[in-house]
């Protein structure tokens, strides 16, 4: 993110506030990342994914705050890749910031959580999708607006099961997230009754752009399956599997048919309005981390609006309560799971150009809340915050 660009955005959101407005500062701690080289390099990853969503959330909160007497500011701090985030977080807390969005890699986030976290600080994980953060490594001061991989693979599983495409051929890359996504796919298969009929690792030692038509048919020949499930989180090779399989089979997972919290085809339930607002502000389409950041900032705004208690613990208490609900353009009210701080949310299932479905699908019932058919349910999570 170019500093000047960010500054102008921040000034934009700070304008128009009454002088005596109650000021709520939201911190944004972001780890600079160096994306790995990928074969499929059609799209440059934007430098401001995440922070642009937070900026829009602040601007939305401020539009409302005009009528309710609150002003919101976003304060962004950068750390280098792999740097210990402790110092940056501590300095935000010392400055008086009580709400911090964490845009960190999993390892960096885990490192942060293993040390004492400043008191009276509520943190939102807007990036890390790891199961363990919602399970054994959960934290009492951490909420998650990012989806877990389990929620994404469960969403896909629901649709594939509904279509009776139950035999999956799993192909996984060997980068960090790939293994985790593959594990999530396996768990979803077990949970919903699909079968992994074959599994292969993608070695990635040739350039699939040139040779996919020759390599992929051979690679996929043999197993009798319904869907090719691909685990390639960095987008290295997955796109080349489509239309190159030996048998005519659809591709799902991290490429082809995907389940994610937000994407360009999402336009129902007023989503077109959020898309348009974001596009106007950021000059690009809203991405999952942008949406997760927007949800976090809007959660703070919504809780403050509904709750006369303006203290940060009052706001946090409201966010965690049964009363809290947030409209997030996905047709259902969202709130947070009490046991592990994960935001319940519908998961759109789409390919690049169209929405296919949205989980939870009607066929999948739950004794309390159908949204809990996605990801770690209370009984399965080792996290027992409440």
């Amino acid at each position: 993110m170019r500093a000047s660009h960010l500054c102008s955005l921040l000034m934009l959101t700070a304008v128009l506030l009454p002088v005596d407005a109650e000021n709520i500062r939201v911190g944004y701690l972001v780890e600079t990342r160096d994306p790995p080289p990928v074969l499929s390099n059609l799209d440059d990853p934007p430098e401001d994914e995440g922070v642009a969503g937070a900026v829009l959330g602040i601007s939305d909160n401020n539009s409302t705050g005009k009528f309710s007497g609150q002003g919101y500011n976003l304060e962004v701090r950068h750390i280098d890749q792999g740097e210990d985030p402790k110092t940056a977080l501590a300095s935000m807390a010392t400055d008086g910031i009580r709400f911090v969005l964490l845009d960190l890699e999993t390892d960096t986030l885990l490192r942060l959580l293993q040390q004492p976290v400043p008191n009276h600080l509520l943190m939102f994980n807007i990036a890390a999708q790891d199961r363990r953060l919602r399970d054994s490594d959960c934290h009492a001061s951490l909420l998650h607006t990012a989806l877990s991989r389990d929620m994404r693979s469960d969403a896909l599983a629901q649709l594939l099961l509904k279509k009776r495409w139950k035999r999956w051929f799993l192909v996984a890359g060997h980068r960090a997230g790939d293994e985790k996504f593959a594990a999530a796919v396996k768990r979803s298969a077990k949970k919903f009754g699909a079968r992994i009929v074959a599994q292969k690792d993608w070695s990635g030692d040739f350039d699939a752009r040139r040779s996919a038509p020759a390599e992929v048919p051979l690679f996929t020949q043999g197993p009798d399956y319904d869907v090719l499930m691909v685990a390639d989180e960095s987008g290295d090779f997955g796109d080349y599997l489509l239309f190159n399989t030996w048998d005519p089979r659809p591709v799902a997972g991290t490429q082809g048919l995907v389940a994610k919290t937000w994407g360009r085809p999402v336009e129902q339930w007023g989503a077109a309005q959020l898309q348009e607002r974001f596009l106007k502000q950021a000059n690009r389409w809203m991405m999952p981390r942008d949406y997760a950041a927007w949800l976090a900032v809007r959660s703070i705004g919504e809780a403050r609006l509904r709750n006369p208690d303006a203290t940060s613990s009052g706001i946090e208490g409201y966010i965690r309560s049964e009363k809290f609900q947030l409209a997030g353009y996905k047709g259902r009210k969202m709130n947070y799971r009490r046991w592990n701080g994960q935001m319940r949310q519908p998961v759109p299932i789409m390919w690049a150009r169209a929405l296919v479905s949205q989980a939870p699908l009607e066929e999948f019932l739950h004794q309390r809340n159908e949204l809990d058919t996605l990801g770690l349910d209370r009984a399965d999570s080792r996290c027992k915050l409440n």
Partner: protein, 322 residues
């Protein structure tokens, strides 16, 4: 018996007494860029004409001579001559107008510009902008009090109903309502304001003298997931006795006793029921059903859905001309 005769016979039954059906119905088809014209005599679509991009809100002038249509993606409210359905002129609505309300005399239009967080006030005779009022995020529903003095705007992401003085154009009160407020309406006597909240699944009823909430209504339909019960469009009968609420993806219209607030019935209509409008004699209520692409006709007295009529893609708004 030949099929044609059977159908004719069935239609004849529906049409008794024929004098009930004299109105012309206009329906905006959001994804077809057209308006469907339904003749209430025959209950058939007699005309479909192009209006512009993404038509949504629709209403007739009080003298029934002009048909106004929000053509959202053309950034205008387009006026059509009701006689020949030819476009007359565009009103300066501001960007992306979604829906609007006319003042009781028809001299003004209040429209919500959802992308700019403003309400635009238009002088309909001069065809000029009188004022633009800053409101919350994603303004949507607009309502006008029967005396024309108070305009209400609901903002979907701010979750408020803004009370606006139509002389000073100032917001003088803000009322928190449920998540994603969609539409609002005053009773004919102006004593109560009703606001629907789509995601909250609620309807808030306010006393217009004190601005205090009287009650919050909730709905429950057997066999339908609670999250799908999403109140959107509403209609209050002129005698103050009944209130109807379109429940969106629940595919039902709720009928509520407007005095006791008791839910009297849920009527099954088309899919994703959106807006409601009565016939001139208030014997029938029409609903636009976005996903099924049709209009349902509710017989108000008997509380029955008597027919559905296929229109274009994603019908949004409906206006009725006597």
């Amino acid at each position: 018996m030949p099929i044609a005769i059977v159908r004719h016979f069935a239609l004849a039954l529906l049409l008794t007494p024929p004098v009930l059906f004299a109105d012309t119905v206009y329906v905006t088809n959001e994804k077809d860029n057209t308006v469907s014209v339904i003749d209430f005599d025959t209950l058939k679509v007699v005309n479909t004409f192009s209006v512009g991009q993404r038509p949504r809100g629709i209403a007739l002038s009080p003298d029934n001579k002009i048909l106004y249509v929000c053509v959202s993606d053309d950034d205008a409210i387009r006026a059509f001559d009701v006689e020949n359905l030819e476009p007359l002129y565009d009103l300066p609505s501001g960007e992306n107008p979604e829906t609007f309300v006319l003042s009781p005399s028809g001299d003004r239009i209040y429209t919500s510009n959802e992308s700019d967080n403003i309400v635009t006030v238009i002088d309909t005779s001069r065809r000029s902008v009188l004022n633009q009022i800053d409101v919350g995020v994603e303004p949507e529903g607009v309502a006008i009090s029967p005396d024309g003095k108070i305009m209400i705007n609901t903002s979907e992401t701010t979750n408020m109903a803004h009370w606006i003085d139509t002389e000073t154009f100032q917001i003088f009160e803000n009322s928190l309502v449920g998540q994603r407020p969609r539409d609002a309406a005053f009773d004919l006597d102006g004593r109560r304001l009703w606001v629907t909240a789509e995601i909250g699944g609620t309807v808030s009823v306010f006393d217009t003298a004190s601005y205090e909430q009287i009650i919050e209504l909730k709905f429950k339909i057997k066999g339908i997931r609670q999250d799908r019960v999403q109140p959107v469009g509403l209609y209050l009968t002129r005698d103050g006795k009944l209130a109807f609420f379109a429940l969106g993806p629940a595919n039902h219209v709720a009928v509520v006793d407007a005095q006791t607030y008791e839910v009297l019935d849920y009527l099954l209509v088309g899919r994703r029921v959106w807006k409601l409008a009565p016939t001139a004699d208030e014997k029938f209520l029409l609903t636009t059903n976005g996903v099924s692409g049709d209009v349902s006709i509710i017989d108000i007295e008997n509380m029955k859905v008597i027919k559905s009529i296929k229109v274009g893609r994603f019908p949004w708004g409906v206006a009725v001309h006597e």
